[in-house]
């Protein structure tokens, strides 16, 4: 009797899962017009407050639902239309400062604005006239005014406003009271300011006052996502701030049902904690030159995967079309065995550098770190770095050497080869030179060949994440050739506050990315400013600081480019942030349903070029 019962129970226990065997097999990518995208995140957001969304997939989604005034083209250092159609620097009458052929006349700009009465630059932006919000309401400059105004008014927007990067806008609030006006539309003071606007265009022209630097417009044009005034103004108040940890019901509704003017709309019903569904907006104002829609897919479905291997498994099994995540080069072997895959091995934009703590605060100084303060010593270590070896061993060849001036060589107009010619190319020569230098500083060695300082072996700790242990291991080998010992030390959960801002480290691995759009912010943050910035080693070089300052503040674009070039060798000669490699971005997509994926520098295969180029494969 017991035996029979046992059998029954066993059979029952096995039956249920096996029963599901037949069903559930066919639910791979059922919808033909949908692109299934795998996203490797720890969780999906439940709200899309565009100015707050910094983590995970939220910035990607926010940038698809919302738009900024312009988008930036790295190659040409130009702004492409988005909400805005055209923009100009203008004089006191609102007239564009242009040369005869229509480009910005920097000489005249400099002349006009060097007058000390101006502590700002005046900019005029004309927006497209056919833009509507996803709920049908037309977009006007009122929305733009509202967005910038809200961002600068912390009493209403809390720190979400700060995250909108409007600090270069000369429109300021103090505790809810406007103390400096820097935004002007037809209905909001443009005429009083002296800017002429044709009444027929009053909804499409706005003037801004920005800081008197050429880089001021970049964050304002490209990173501030414009919000709809008719949606947010009724719900945001001092009691119910834009960024609230206990939002009211209306505010919460606005967070979870975003209304934007971007090319995509959120499908709030189908989106949840495991997937996000976006639909292409039919009435998006930007189109291809031939009038056809800009994007080739109607729907995008993001599916959440906690771990990369799970996502890759799903990709190989055909659950998703593309993986929005870069994978390590180890997987290239796996991809080679499969068909119907498009592998993108794109050049990267992130440079991995080794940063020296060359000027620690007084309490953190010790004899070893005093060595780091010696530029010749740093030069020797920099000479011992063999980027080709690192790329071969750590990246399996999927990477390129980086320039010592930390500018990407692919930006041919701005890269200065002089930054790399201050040291020999040949590795054997470099090692010889490095040993020669070190023999002059710390000639004593112990029996293993490591150099000694005061009888003790010189040993530095390199901070890194657990994934960077490999890099440190190979650096160990390279530095051994000049007799210096390095060891890996874990970075910890909050490296900035625990080690880096307080000079509690010898060396650290840091990924940097310098591009034209961010040098105004990044150069000072990395090389000049002391304090809670990326200048972990606290470099102080008067000449470099002066050059960076001038570069930021000059109104002459040509002079700016010149200085950019001059700064690169100066950075290289400091041997402060020594480049190790620039890793490629490897990503993969399936081509059995869609073709047309594009390789874009610094991006995965899921990028806007691909989206614009995708076509359905016939018959699937």
């Amino acid at each position: 009797m017991t035996k029979r019962l046992l059998l029954l129970v066993l059979v029952g226990a096995l039956a249920l899962p096996l029963a599901g065997c037949q069903t559930g097999r066919g639910s791979h990518r059922p919808d033909p017009n949908t692109l299934y995208v795998g996203a490797v995140q720890s969780s999906f957001p439940s709200a899309y407050m565009p100015w707050l969304s910094r983590e995970g997939i939220a910035p990607t989604i926010a940038n698809m639902l919302y738009s900024s005034l312009f988008s930036y083209d790295e190659e040409t250092d130009r702004y492409l239309p988005s909400i805005g159609r055209e923009w100009y620097y203008v004089d006191e009458n609102g007239e564009p400062i242009l040369t005869e052929d229509g480009s910005i006349d920097y000489a005249r700009l400099e002349e006009i604005y060097s007058d000390p009465q101006y502590d700002y630059l005046a900019v005029k932006v004309i927006i497209h006239q056919d833009i509507t919000w996803s709920d049908g309401v037309p977009l006007t400059v009122e929305d733009i005014y509202y967005s910038f105004d809200l961002a600068t008014n912390h009493a209403l927007s809390n720190h979400a406003g700060a995250l909108a990067w409007t600090s270069d806008l000369k429109h300021k609030y103090n505790n809810g009271v406007l103390v400096e006006k820097g935004l002007f539309t037809y209905e909001r003071g443009a005429l009083e300011q002296g800017y002429h606007i044709d009444p027929a265009e009053k909804d499409y022209v706005i003037y801004l006052h920005v800081n008197k630097v050429l880089g001021a417009v970049t964050p304002l044009f490209t990173s501030v996502l414009i919000l709809p005034k008719h949606v947010w103004e009724p719900v945001v108040s001092r009691e119910n701030q834009l960024n609230s940890s206990s939002p009211s019901a209306e505010l919460l509704y606005r967070y979870t049902h975003p209304v934007g003017c971007g090319p995509w709309v959120l499908d709030t019903e189908q989106s949840g904690s495991q997937q996000i569904v976006l639909h292409r907006r039919q009435d998006y104002h930007l189109k291809k030159p031939d009038g056809s829609p800009l994007y080739g897919v109607d729907t995008i479905k993001f599916i959440l995967y906690k771990e990369q291997n799970v996502a890759l498994y799903a990709l190989l099994k055909g659950h998703i079309d593309v993986l929005d995540s870069s994978v390590s080069s180890n997987y290239l072997l796996l991809f080679a065995k499969e068909k119907d895959l498009f592998v993108s091995n794109a050049p990267g934009t992130f440079t991995q550098t080794l940063v020296f703590n060359l000027n620690p605060v007084a309490s953190e100084r010790n004899p070893l770190r005093d060595l780091l303060a010696n530029r010749e010593f740093r030069k020797a270590l920099a000479l011992a770095v063999n980027q080709d070896e690192l790329i071969k061993n750590v990246l399996d060849g999927a990477g390129v050497p980086a320039s010592a001036g930390l500018m990407r060589p692919s930006l041919t107009d701005f890269y200065n080869p002089e930054a790399d010619s201050i040291v020999p190319r040949d590795y054997a020569q470099r090692l010889a030179l490095a040993n020669e230098i070190l023999d002059g500083i710390v000639p004593d060695k112990d029996k293993d060949g490591y150099r000694l300082l005061g009888g003790e072996r010189i040993s530095f700790k390199i901070l890194g994440t657990p994934g960077e242990q490999d890099v440190v291991s190979f650096l160990q080998i390279q530095f051994k050739k000049i007799g210096i010992d390095v060891q890996y030390a874990p970075k910890g959960a909050q490296p900035e506050s625990t080690y880096l801002y307080t000079s509690k480290f010898d060396l650290v691995l840091q990924g940097v990315i310098f591009s034209l759009s961010n040098v105004d912010i990044m150069y000072p943050a990395h090389f000049s400013t002391l304090g809670r910035t990326s200048n972990y080693g606290r470099l102080v070089n008067e000449g470099l600081n002066a050059a960076i300052e001038e570069m930021r503040y000059t109104l002459n674009l040509n002079r700016k480019y010149e200085l950019l070039k001059e700064i690169q060798p100066m950075i290289a000669q400091e041997f402060y942030k020594v480049p190790l490699y620039t890793a490629n971005v490897i990503s993969v997509a399936r081509t059995d349903r869609f073709t047309g994926f594009q390789v874009v520098e610094g991006s995965t295969v899921f990028n806007s070029e691909s989206l614009q180029n995708l076509r359905r494969v016939e018959g699937r």
Binding site: N309, S328, N330, L334, P466, Q469, S473, F474, P490, A493
Partner: protein, 342 residues
């Protein structure tokens, strides 16, 4: 000086007799062999392993299947020899397990004896702490503590000890309550011996069999717990341990690539280590208490894993409640959790 030497000799002889008894036991033989083997592997790792996994220059092609040069192949993400990693991993796992086990034994027995013998406020305080620690779920607490205190090798051992002493303390305390009333302790008290003297020279040795047994069993449990922690990615990032090998296997895509050997090797390692230590521990328990021989070894294990209430129940059903041997500290075992259940 001479007395010290004689004391040491007595202890060594006692240890030798114990080992002989374990050896005589059929299952004890197996356990002892396994433990000895593991210890030897750990000590002589550089001679046994063909490559040094910590040496970067000895890495080679990634993702090789097993071959003569690489008996277990190489890892997919770094090209290290898996067999060498297995051998060196013995060191880490054994060190963490045995050190934690020994420290738990020390802390648990001291606190248990103090609570049992001194009674009163000391007893209440220690037992309340035990109650509170019993209630907080172990794995989340370990995760939070590694987040807060760091993931250094020794900090992890500290965390394991801090969470693991409670079971042993409780058990020792019950035993001490019984020992307290034996004639010879009472005689010592009457003779005017100080409390410290009694605790150290009389009571503590009386619990020695329990302590040794707990060391073995909790070492086994800690090894599994450490493997679990490393598997979640929360262990020491620089040390090669079996749990970390399993984690790397999973995140490196062993499953995707079909490299089953990468998964089996560390799993086997964990199994052998835990199995060996557990055997020794259970055999020790049998030796200490011959009555226990009647029941199966896992019965004892099962009993040892649960709370006081189940122990109460079994005690009321068995007839050796008079001895009061309740079982050993938490550790090992699937049912109640090795700290892997929240």
């Amino acid at each position: 000086m001479k007395r010290l030497w004689m004391g040491v000799r007595k202890r060594l002889r006692g240890a030798g007799e114990l080992l002989a008894k374990i050896w005589a036991h059929r299952q004890g033989k197996v356990g002892l062999i396994m433990v000895t083997l593991l210890v030897l592997v750990a000590i002589f790792a550089p001679y046994i392993a063909p490559y040094n996994p910590y040496d970067v220059s000895q890495r080679t092609t990634k993702g090789l299947p097993p071959s003569w040069q690489h008996p277990l192949g190489t890892t997919i993400n770094t090209g290290q020899d898996i067999f060498s990693m297995l051998v060196y991993g013995t060191r880490v796992s054994l060190i963490v397990g045995v050190t934690s086990g020994v420290c738990i034994a020390i802390v648990g027995s001291i606190l248990g004896v103090a609570a049992g013998y001194l009674g009163g406020a000391v007893d209440t305080l220690i037992m309340r702490i035990v109650d509170i620690m019993l209630v907080i779920p172990t794995l989340p607490l370990v995760i939070v503590l590694t987040n807060v205190l760091g993931r250094d090798f020794w900090i992890i051992i500290l965390i394991f000890v801090a969470l693991g002493w409670t079971g042993l303390a409780r058990t020792i305390r019950s035993l001490v309550l019984v020992l307290k009333n034996t004639n010879y302790v009472k005689a010592a008290e009457l003779a005017g011996a100080s409390r410290w003297h009694i605790m150290i020279r009389h009571i503590l040795p009386g619990t020695s069999h329990l302590v040794i047994m707990s060391t073995a069993l909790s070492s086994a449990g800690i090894m599994v717990a450490e493997a679990g922690l490393s598997f979640l990615g929360l262990g020491d990032p620089t040390a090669i341990s079996w749990g970390k090998m399993l984690a790397e296997a999973q995140s490196g895509g062993a499953l995707l690539f079909g490299a089953w050997w990468w998964i089996f090797a560390p799993g086997l390692g964990i199994f052998l280590a835990v199995f060996g230590f557990m055997r020794v521990g259970l055999v020790l328990e049998e030796i200490a208490n011959p009555r226990m021989k009647r029941t199966s070894s896992v019965y004892k294990l099962f009993r040892s894993l649960d709370s006081s209430y189940v122990e109460e129940v079994f005690r009321s059903m068995d007839d050796y409640q008079r001895i009061g041997v309740e079982g050993v500290s938490s550790g090992g075992g699937q049912s109640r959790g090795t700290g892997l259940e929240a």
